[in-house]
């Protein structure tokens, strides 16, 4: 029997007449071409299964790219070595959970160097891909491929954005033996899982600081990449490998006019929400969004919710608190996290702090990070760009003015501060408007953060 790779799937030829392949889980009969077909992910397990049944497999897809060689020697920290050993022991499939700043990329480089097979590294954003390229260049002189955002260069180690890989995996799926998935938790959420289904790569390494809770998302991640094989929290690494963290929450009020406007808007939203919930028991926020867009009352409620959130994003007291904190921590490198780009520009204008937003070009963003690293800039303000993965060294102070994405975002943001430094103690401020939805969100974020910062059992 022969297996061939066809645009992210496997086709079977010369099937012995007595063998019904569709009895094997994952294989389906494709009426369109009159042959059995399976997702490429199952390539190696299927071949094993066929051999177990005594069916000779004459040909099968194998990674077509030559493996990378001659990595310069580099050291791994003990917990990185331990993670690598755990991954190896799990059959070189699985997810490693380490806090932000603990060197997940380096660990992955260790895996690439050790496995000696062509590797495809996936990252959610272009900025993170740039970071991967820089990390690779530090230990390897070979040609690095790039896929996504108009680039289409394949190399023994190729870096691709999630979106780029999703669009091109039909062509890339038979080229690599190892998949490294940075910020792997994204694939647990159900989006674009086909990217990982369409690759024959038998070796898979997922990296994340915020794994999904046990349930459907964790199961999906387990199927696509593998189970969690190693986990360390901030608490495990704080002190020697990560800076210790101190959290300060400032509860602030709204000025009377802001309070009046906010409460009036919130009442309109609450009314719409109550009306919806009365008819949709147990419905989710997404259900509400869908439903609200269809009625005048719902639309009014949504609009009021957005305006109320805009007030909370940067009211006068937050402005004052931010000014105070920036003055107080003038000598320290500070990251400011806001809810949206408009607030980022407002902060930038008021305090002359460089904004890092998706609107700012890639070269300027990299230059700004470099100047921040060199101490020429003391603060950066960002809505989402700094949320995930971006390597920001030695920021000592973080000020979370407002957020939009919930607890996972908060853990990632605080993680930006944890890179170790001599005598460094990271300080994370959170500005919360009293008597608003932010209080409950802050509680939830605190609980999630505590979970991730406490030493594991």
């Amino acid at each position: 029997m022969r297996l061939t790779f066809d645009r992210g799937t496997l086709l079977f030829a010369d099937v012995p007449p007595e063998l019904d392949l569709t009895q094997i889980p994952g294989v389906l009969w494709d009426e369109r071409i009159g042959a059995p077909r399976a997702p490429a992910r199952l390539c190696y397990p299927l071949v094993s299964e066929l051999r177990r049944r005594g069916v000779p497999v004459a040909d099968m897809p194998r990674p077509t790219l030559a493996p990378p060689s001659e990595f310069r020697p580099f050291e791994l920290r003990p917990y990185q070595e331990a993670a690598l050993a755990a991954w190896r022991q799990a059959g070189r499939r699985g997810v490693v959970v380490l806090p932000t700043g603990s060197g997940k990329t380096r660990l992955a480089l260790g895996a690439i160097a050790a496995t000696r097979t062509a590797a495809l590294c996936l990252a959610p954003t272009r900025a993170l891909c740039d970071q991967w390229a820089a990390a690779l260049a530090a230990v390897w002189d070979g040609p690095v491929g790039r896929f996504g955002d108009g680039e289409r260069v394949v190399g023994p180690v190729t870096i691709a954005t999630f979106a780029g890989a999703y669009r091109h995996m039909a062509a890339l799926g038979d080229k690599f033996g190892l998949l490294v998935v940075d910020e792997a938790h994204h694939f647990g959420a159900g989006g674009r899982g086909e990217t990982l289904e369409m690759s024959i790569a038998p070796l898979r390494l997922g990296l994340t600081a915020t794994p999904p809770a046990p349930g459907e998302a964790a199961d999906r991640l387990g199927t696509l990449i593998g189970p969690v094989v190693f986990e360390r929290t901030v608490g495990d690494l704080a002190g020697r490998y990560l800076a210790p963290l101190e959290r300060v929450t400032w509860h602030l009020g709204l000025d009377p006019d802001e309070r009046r406007e906010h409460d009036a808007l919130w009442a309109v939203y609450r009314e719409a929400r109550r009306a919806f919930e009365a008819n949709h028991l147990g419905a989710s926020w997404e259900d509400f969004l869908h439903d609200a867009a269809r009625t005048d009352e719902g639309r009014r409620g949504l609009s009021a919710w957005r305006r109320a959130r805009r007030i909370l994003a940067y009211p006068r007291r937050k402005r004052e608190a931010l000014a105070l904190l920036l003055g107080h921590h003038r000598a320290q490198r500070t990251l400011i996290f806001v809810a949206d780009n408009q607030t980022a520009y407002a902060v930038a204008r008021e305090h002359l702090v460089m904004p890092l937003t998706c609107d700012i070009g890639r070269a300027e963003r990299l230059a700004a990070l470099e100047r921040f690293r060199a101490g020429e800039l003391r603060a950066l303000v960002s809505a989402q760009v700094l949320n995930e993965g971006i390597d920001v060294p030695d920021a000592e102070v973080g000020i979370v003015v407002a957020g939009r994405m919930g607890e996972r975002e908060h853990v990632q943001r605080v993680g930006r501060l944890l890179r170790p430094g001599a005598g460094k103690r990271a300080l994370a401020y959170e500005l919360v408007v009293e008597g608003s939805s932010e209080c409950r969100q802050a509680e939830r974020r605190g609980a999630r953060l505590a979970l991730r910062t406490r030493p594991s059992a």
Binding site: R7, T9, R32, E197, R330, R349, L352, M354, G361
Partner: protein
Amino acid sequence: MLSERDLPLRLIEERAFIDYLGPQDEPWLRVLLSEMARFEGRRRRELAERLAEPLPCEAPHFKRRAAARTLFGLWRRDPGERPPASEPARPTPAALREQIFAEAAAGERPAGAVIDTAAARLGLARETLLELLFADLPGERPVRAPDPPPTPAEAMLRTNLAIAQAVLMRASRVELRVEGGVRPIVRLAKLRGLLCTIADAAEGRRPILEISGPFSLFQHTLLYGRALAELLPHLAWCARFELRAACALRGRLGTVSFETGDPIFPAAPPIPFDSRLEERFARDLGRLAPDWDLVREPEPLRTGETLIFPDFLLRNRLQPQRRVLIEIVGFWTPQYLTAKLEKLRQVSTVCLLCIDEERACALGDLPPHLPVLRFRRRIDAAAVLREAERLTTGETSHAA
């Protein structure tokens, strides 16, 4: 592309119905266009904020949102005004940011003082400097209307196309009944890595062309949605089409249909004929035989495991069962023609091959009684017509 939330559609049981914009929507579209015209030269962000608000007239919510988003995509970002040549050159916003943020970080002076110093140095007002600081960002750039600006009717068609494509983006496979101009559709689909197969149709109905991706077999995937949606504006150039697709909408699958006459903005017209020879033949035949319709690139036919795409279908308008498929053959050998006719014999419609005498690649006689018409340089439309009459009335003599 429009997001799922912007789509004016109704889901009734298993079916989804698109609420297309029509002539009744032109009055508010006119208002929308004139509102957008007011923002000519202003910031893109300001236009976006305005479009998020209601119009000064009644307009259906979802349709208005879809139209606003579609038209917003057509309004270009302007590189921005250049200062008069007499004024000293201003630094670019990026250079200004580099300079000012570094100055603010270097000293102990408050932000206001840094701004004032920089404004004085550059000879700008404080407010101008603050404006200039982010003037190059996408939302801060001035917008320009397309030239010429779309009419309400064009805006309507473009919005409908955007809606239809956004729906089709959520499909994993489509079923297509199509007549005329099908070859470019199949070509485009194959170019995008899709699979095209013919499914059997009920008696008397056109066969169904199914277009899907290899991975569609395993799950409802949006992987091929973009490629499938790309086909839609090209279908407008087919003589007739009917497309059905199951789309993942609002958390469930709903079947949506598109057909000839849907008010959708078409793609650029395809090249009408592959060659001057075909073009001349179609023109000659059209003049000669008003009772016959010549359909270019009719639906593909399945012969065994392969699809064939005849060049033309000649069909009698008064007796549609009288149909002849016409293939214009380039280079040929007697063996090639015999094999081709053997294949064509598997389909129920009679076929006629027009062969170029000058392009025979091998010597040898053709077997007798083949439905073959020879030509030199120009296909004789009258001869084709005679042959079609004969083939569809049961006569059996050899043509050439």
